[in-house]
């Protein structure tokens, strides 16, 4: 809970820093604040506390995910500093991002549907604006508009679902709903199941699972690269954690009613996104589809729900986020002003900046799931969970689709090492980005070598 206070305080502070003209110290203070938030969260480890008449519950699951979100946010701020410094509205952008982090923390720690809704809205409203923050760029405007319209539509579904579930259970509290739903030999009216399905639609939109993913490529492509990085890491983590928390705790008792639907969504997500990603020329669009695909892998844990599902998902999310942040940092450096680059922009990168090329290789290999990197073990654990629960077909399909994934990730790697480019001027990277790349690199390798650091945590 202290983390929530710190994050909101930081947001308000960054607004005030515009008035008092202390923009220079804002960045270090934000980094310190995020680190402090993560520390305070970790100190609450193993103590289940609920706040404000059970609106938020910080159990280990919530603590792990909110600490993860704070740390990824810290990395993200390191990545986006130079982009925002060239922008006149640094403080506003920082404030919006910090507010959206507050929403993200609510989304992983809620134990009341009202908080889930508020968390999603705080996160989304800030994002709609961030997506359109390049105001002269028509694509950015389109991204904001599309995201806003589709997002409001999805929120409508979510609210309708919440209302129907409330109609049956008479409460917004997750524990009470779980108890009501788990009551043996009660014939629930189909109102409940309609509500569960509608909430699923709303949340599947937020994680961009396949039948509800149409907004994702355009929004990811149109938004500024740093905002895209934010969407495909922090927003994805928060949205998936919210999805998982709701369905694994609240509706676990009626899982027979929804598990088939999730399974269909998972299969569609895995197949459609991976195949579409192959056909993308723009690297950003390719990364967008790959992030849709990763949502599919995460959904497998929900289909094959057992007691180690949540630690598998945490490990997956952390490895995915570090690799993505690294990939987006490099894309940001390579693309520079030009937002939509094709794989050709990476031609001969190894000569222009060998360290960047190496980091990109590791990040992409981790995303593709090549041992010994973190991405491989993340997929491995998820497949193990699914295998133990008896979903052999799903595992086979997921392995096949990750093979397709290797193809499109390798296209960039091949471009970097084997193709030559006319431009041979070396690319300068800011010190902060080099530090960030080293951190992501180490995280991908260390987590891959020693997955026990995270895997048995929750």
């Amino acid at each position: 809970m202290n983390a929530v206070y710190i994050l909101s305080g930081l947001g308000i502070f960054s607004l005030l820093s515009e008035i008092f003209n202390i923009r220079k110290v804002l960045f270090p203070i934000v980094l310190l604040g995020l680190a402090a938030a993560a520390l305070l969260l970790i100190m609450d480890w193993n103590s289940v506390q609920s706040y404000y008449s059970n609106m938020l519950t910080f159990d280990n699951y919530a603590v792990a995910f909110s600490a993860g979100i704070s740390i990824v946010a810290l990395l993200w701020f390191m990545m986006s500093k130079d982009y925002f410094e060239n922008n006149t509205h640094v403080t506003d952008h920082f404030a919006l991002v910090l507010f959206s982090l507050v929403g993200a923390v609510f989304m992983v720690s809620y134990s009341n549907l009202a908080m889930l809704f508020l968390g999603i809205e705080i996160l989304s409203i800030s994002l709609y604006i961030l997506a359109g923050s390049k105001m002269k760029d028509l694509f950015s405007n389109e991204a904001a508009f599309k995201y806003f319209l589709m997002g409001s539509f999805a929120t409508g579904f979510l609210l309708f679902g919440i209302a129907l579930v409330y109609g049956v259970t008479g409460s917004f509290d997750l524990n009470i709903i779980a108890e009501t739903v788990a009551a043996p030999s009660v014939n629930f009216p189909s109102l409940l199941y309609a509500g569960v399905l509608m909430m699923m639609v709303g949340l599947a939109f937020k994680i961009s699972a396949v039948p509800f993913h149409f907004w994702a490529p355009d929004v990811y492509e149109g938004s500024p690269t740093v905002v895209t990085a934010f969407m495909s890491t922090i927003v994805k983590i928060a949205a998936f954690a919210a999805f998982f928390r709701l369905f694994s705790t609240c509706f676990a008792a009626v899982s027979s009613q929804w598990v088939d639907v999730v399974q269909v969504i998972t299969v569609l997500t895995l197949v459609v996104s991976n195949i579409t990603a192959v056909y993308q020329n723009s690297v950003k669009r390719m990364l967008a589809f790959s992030s849709v695909a990763h949502a599919g892998y995460m959904l497998i844990t929900l289909v094959a729900l057992n007691e180690v599902s949540d630690s598998a998902i945490l490990y997956y999310v952390v490895s995915y986020a570090t690799a993505s942040i690294a990939a987006f940092t490099i894309l940001h450096n390579v693309a520079f002003e030009n937002e939509n680059v094709t794989a050709e922009a990476f031609n001969g990168l190894v000569k222009r900046n060998p360290f960047m090329a190496f980091t990109m290789t590791v990040a992409l290999l981790s995303l593709a799931g090549i041992p010994p990197l973190a991405g491989f073990f993340a997929k491995y654990y998820i497949f193990t969970v699914a295998f133990e629960s008896g979903y052999v077909g799903l595992v086979l399909l997921a392995i096949l689709t990750s093979l397709i994934g290797i193809y499109y990730y390798f296209r960039i790697i091949i471009a970097m090492y084997l193709k030559s480019s006319d431009i041979i001027t070396p690319i300068e990277t800011p010190l902060l980005h080099r530090v960030l790349m080293v951190i992501c690199l180490l995280a991908s390798i260390i987590l891959g070598v020693a997955p026990d650091l995270i895997i048995r945590l929750i």
Binding site: S8, G11, I12, L15, Y51, Y52, S53, M55, L56, T88, H89, D92, H93, A95, L96, F99, S100, V102, G103, F106, N112, A114, M115, L118, E121, I122, I125, S126, Y128, I129, G132, S133, M135, K136, L138, N141, E142, F145, L164, G167, V168, P189, S190, L191, Y193, A194, G195, L197
Partner: protein
């Protein structure tokens, strides 16, 4: 008596909601939407939720409708020609909306009318009860909404002050720039909506 009022209001609400969809002129649509909102608001009255009724009237029928009208007139959308939609899209929309309706109707059919204790119901919409709930059980959401509003406000200001430079400029020049920026945004929005 209440039952007749309920049926009358529901009939009116559904009718005007249909008119919102079917009328070609966006301004008519908005005006029909006002009627829909008023009818829904009156339903709150029937459920003896006076506070909700007042809020609903002020926020929806008042503020949001004015915004709608303002935007429609600002963008000069009050023409009768709609953007052409392909038959394929219409077909898909009708099918999915029909499926959704089927789900909702099926869900509502199975539901039994719950037995409500009417002695508590008469209090449920009173401001006092609502206030008690908001400041006890729902204190955190109530306070957290302020962050949501703050974020929305920051965003609105950010979008509005688009191209103004930080350096001091003569005021008339600034205004000129702002209006050019506004025009840019308007044309952008128009191109997007096409």
């Amino acid at each position: 008596m209440t039952l007749y009022a309920f049926y009358f209001l529901s009939f009116l609400a559904v009718l005007s909601a249909l008119m919102v969809v079917f009328s070609r002129n966006p301004i008519y649509s908005v005006l029909y939407l006002v009627i829909t909102f008023v009818c829904v608001g009156c339903h709150y009255l029937l459920l003896s939720a006076e506070f909700l009724f007042a809020v609903h009237m002020i926020v929806y029928a008042g503020a949001i409708m004015v915004l709608f009208l303002y935007v429609i007139m600002l963008l000069n959308l009050n023409k009768e020609d709609e953007a052409h939609k392909s038959n394929y899209l219409r077909f898909a929309a009708v099918i999915s909306a029909g499926l959704l309706m089927m789900v909702v109707v099926a869900a509502l059919r199975g539901a039994e009318a719950s037995q409500v204790d009417f002695s508590t119901v008469s209090n449920i919409g009173k401001v006092k009860v609502l206030g008690n709930l908001l400041f006890n059980e729902f204190l955190l959401p109530f306070e957290i909404v302020s962050i949501l509003l703050l974020a929305a406000m920051v965003g609105a200001v950010m979008l509005a002050k688009t191209h103004m430079k930080r350096t001091a400029e003569p005021t008339h020049k600034k205004n000129g720039r702002a209006s050019v920026a506004n025009q840019n945004i308007t044309t952008n929005i128009k191109e997007l909506t096409k």
